[in-house]
Amino acid sequence: MRFLNMLPQLLGVSFLAMGLGLLLMGLGRQFTARLQRRVGPPFYQAYLDVLKCFSKTSITHGFVMDLGTIMSLAGLIATAYYVPFVQWTPTGSGSLVIILYLMTIGYLGMAMGVSASGNPQAPLGIARALALMFGYKVPLVMVILAMIVVTGSSDLLAIANAQQGGPSNWFLLKFPIGFVAVEIAFQAMIGERPYDMMIAPAEIASGPMVELSGKYLGLAFLLHSVQLYVETALIVNLFLGGAANPATFFGKQVLVYLTSMAVNAVMARYRIEQGIAHLWKWAGSLAFIQLLTTKGGF
């Protein structure tokens, strides 16, 4: 019964995540365009793209491709149910372990769906994405652990609540080293340069998306949009103290995303092993210092 009551909220959050994520994508594209001294697409371009993708015919290489694509977006949307939006989640829980692991099912679905397409460039891209995940998960987790040590809770809602009462309480100030580490990891999480080896059109012809057409591509876009929503919201909740109203929250998300897009615009792409090494070297060591200083010992 409780679950039934939850359904409208779940539906709302699903569309909120997709909608805001697509808006973020559109804003990001326009921001990049401005950095590149051009007009750029309208901010609602991402919506048009997705709708167009769904209006096209598409191909499939078997049921695994369908299953994987559905699983991927479902996983990410389910994650969105656990990420606090303005100190609230529809499930009433913001467990960080759930968020970290539930996101993985999205990646697993994507990985499975695209490698079922039978194109070697897709698993090439996925292998890169997973290898990169190896690189950024650890720094991210270390910083989160530092917060758990301090707040005594692994619930994102509690962590966000602990930062209420003005920017001086934000964990951005409490964990400055950790913030830098997570920002580096975030760049890799959303797959922007210098860590966009997963897509890398010039190398592996857009990698995982290589065989996606029509609605499959549309779902992949939605996946990316929800991923953006979830990951920016994660940063906002972890470091920027969540927000009191939706507009502020989304504003902070935009800020986080555009910072990343600005780096994206002026960076080239690492080779994959360089990327992982870079992540471990910088993000990893910073996060390690953060965790060590917070915990005060092993």
Partner: protein, 383 residues
Amino acid sequence: MYLPDGYTTLEKLREAGEYADYDLFFGPNHPGMHGNFGYVLTMIGTEVVRVRPNAGQLHRGFEKAMENKAWAANVSLIPRVCVPDPDPNEVAYCQAVEKLLGCEVPIRGRWMRSITLELSRLGSLYMGMGGLAGALGHYSTMYLMMIERDLILDRFEALTGARVYHIYNVPGGVRNDAPEGWFDSVSRLLDHLEAQMPEYDRLLYENHVVWDRLQGMAPITAEEAMASGVTGPALRATGVKADIRVDAPYAAYPEIQVDIPTSGGGDALARAVQVRLDFAESVRILRRLLARIPDGPVHADLGNLAKLKVPAGDAYSKVESSKGEFGYYVVSDGGEKPYRVSVRGPSLPAGLYLCHKHLPGMKIDDVAAWMASFAICPPDIDR
């Protein structure tokens, strides 16, 4: 080259029925491919173990087509041999014809040739740097550099009426003199380009990611480069001071100071830096050219160009393009059409030969950047 334990060659691996290797089609329809060209890469893991070039997709039968067109009419065909850098083709061909005719190009005509050559070189170098940036995923640099190239194309448009295929050089000189104020506009353009360049340096050449990517990639020694026919920036990047503008000067270069900057090192980074040095030198040359433009006609009187007849004989003429040596070997039997025109493009040694040496053992990550670092331009391989 990476092979599983116990196997020394790919053949042995396949005979054993191991399915370790797979093929990737790098081009023609691949975002990393510059132009319509292909490498079929045999891969193990993420490493290339064998490459089969797949050329000919841009083949248009130029050399045959030129045999069926009048001497001067061929000028309209020739710029299409190398699309990003068309003018060296025109000049090389016209020089070969002039050599057969034994005619002298007036000094202002030679000056105009040099100016267009250098402008075309600048445009092509922008394309090259942008292409390299694009291969490394640095799209902003590419996007911005295309603006600058477009400004150069605007000057070309003012001079010749065309943006890409200028068809400006004709046997005996150039087609027309520069319009009023054109030299000033070029001069202003150079100011602009030089003012913009520090920004691109910051974006591309001072970018650590770019350095990490290019450093040590596909190194080549001076001897190897010379023996394998590599010319232009790729050769100079190995430290060889070789430039046709100096070694066999043509157009206005005998009268103009041309330095040969070399980066040295021979790897992809050296080649990338060499392009930047070439760019700076080209701007300096242009300034020197613009500083003293001689007066006079731009075209020698050869009568009706459409009915031009060229004495029998053969001549080879070469020009330093932005990618290296462009050579035209022209044979005449005394008729109204060339008997045979044979084209030497700068991309073939790297594109069809060095690929066998460099790509095996290379990661898939680097193939596009390798192509860009050698400025491989498929149209002049295929012709």
